[in-house]
Symmetry: C2
Subunit: 230 residues, 2 copies
DNA sequence: TAAACTCATATTGGATACAATTTATATATT
DNA sequence: AATATATAAATTGTATCCAATATGAGTTTA
């Protein structure tokens, strides 16, 4: 039986969910992950038609995702030319870490008085897991550890800002492979931070976190500037 | 003579410029100004068709502007329902000012060593103007004063973040009308800040700015919570 | 040969058309 | 009369279509 000509827009999204109004969000997250993960490198042009074919949708939800990616700072538009992946630079890495110190120490100061013993215990569990886990899982465990300690500050704007900064930093994490030789020091700093949280000592906790973030940033900065070649 | 059916897309944008690819930016700024200025109040539904007619364009550039407004935190989407202006609250105002202190003191610390005498002089001029200007001009002069002192930090991410926070704060400025009785104290604080900048004293400058922002925030917080009506 | 021009092609920006979903209204049912 | 159900209107989400601009190959001209 021949297909009825009336069924035109029958093209259904390639991905599973496909609930009306969520395509753009899935595309946004996929593209962001690609940029962070390095599949899309700095300077790459994002052709709307190509992306539309890749995701099995029209250009429209692609454009929606691109606008949001621009707002997050991962791509930039030039009129009538399109979107390209934002460049990375040592100066940008430095700026991100300066901002992380400011934002995360603020969040921690506000979170420490609200922290329950259960939350600190959960962070400790994550730290124990992290010290034994394979490198591949370090990133997500590390993020969960920090999130556990900062979430109780109950500041939605601030937490969203921090998440965006951490995403921005993750682009460099991949480039510098700084994870490996940094892990040992990081674990020690995490334990010191937990100890300060247990004592509900805001200032000590903030100092720990500041040092932790700054040293991580400096390690990555060195890798990035020394191995100036790719 | 009857209109030729072939001329379809002849509808030209109502606004002047109309260069290809800039409509969305103009709409974005107009909508943001409306939200900050209070023409669009918290909870208002932003109907795409209405906005399209108001700006004399199709729904497409409207949506582009809306996505960016969402990223800036001024509106929020609910699937299949549309965009609504974000609510305001005392907690949100407090959070904005906490973040401003963190971000602007960081920017100032980085800017102070880079400040030229000319830049400090320009800030001083703005301050003198501000003390004599009518209330209507206070806002823009004040913004220019702060921008002059922070711009030399040369941190694009940080400066964009600060600008967004100041826009967010301006929504409350209108609600609280806190400007009037605050002006006198503000001028004194500005002069103290300039003095610290002239000495290139980072810590003193940061303390001045912290106190300045915190007291401004507290004044607005009081107005907002006391005049809980409307 | 190198610069400038012409034309063809590709790509974005925007308008329109249609489908999916929600919201409002009217009708039926208990 | 109140609730539930069906139906219509409105609105968003997506696809397709058209226009404006940019890109690049080939040609002409100095």
């Amino acid at each position: 039986m021949k297909e009825d000509a009336t069924q035109r827009n029958t093209q259904s999204p390639a991905n599973g969910s496909g609930r009306h109004g969520e395509q753009a969000l899935e595309i946004l997250e996929a593209l962001r992950a690609d940029i962070i993960g390095g599949e899309l490198t700095a300077g790459s042009l994002l052709r709307q038609q190509l992306l539309a074919e890749r995701f099995g949708v029209s250009r429209m939800p692609i454009r929606e995702a691109l606008y949001r990616l621009e707002a997050e700072g991962f791509i930039s538009f030039t009129p009538n030319k399109g979107a390209m992946v934002a460049p990375i630079s040592a100066a940008d890495l430095q700026e991100i870490y300066e901002m992380r110190v400011a934002a995360e120490t603020l969040a921690l100061r506000l979170a420490v008085p609200e922290l329950t013993n259960a939350q600190i215990g959960r962070a400790e569990d994550l730290q124990i897991q992290m010290e034994e886990a394979p490198v591949a899982e370090f990133g997500s465990l590390n993020a969960a550890f920090h999130r556990t300690l900062l979430l109780p500050c109950a500041r939605p704007r601030l937490l969203a800002h921090i998440e965006n900064l951490e995403n921005a930093a993750d682009r460099y994490l991949r480039v510098t492979i700084a994870t490996l030789d940094y892990a040992g020091k990081s674990h020690k700093e995490h334990r010191a931070l937990l100890e300060a949280c247990r004592r509900r000592d805001q200032n000590a906790a903030m100092d720990c976190l500041r040092q932790h973030i700054e040293e991580g940033g400096e390690t990555m900065y060195r890798h990035l500037t020394e191995n100036a070649s790719k």
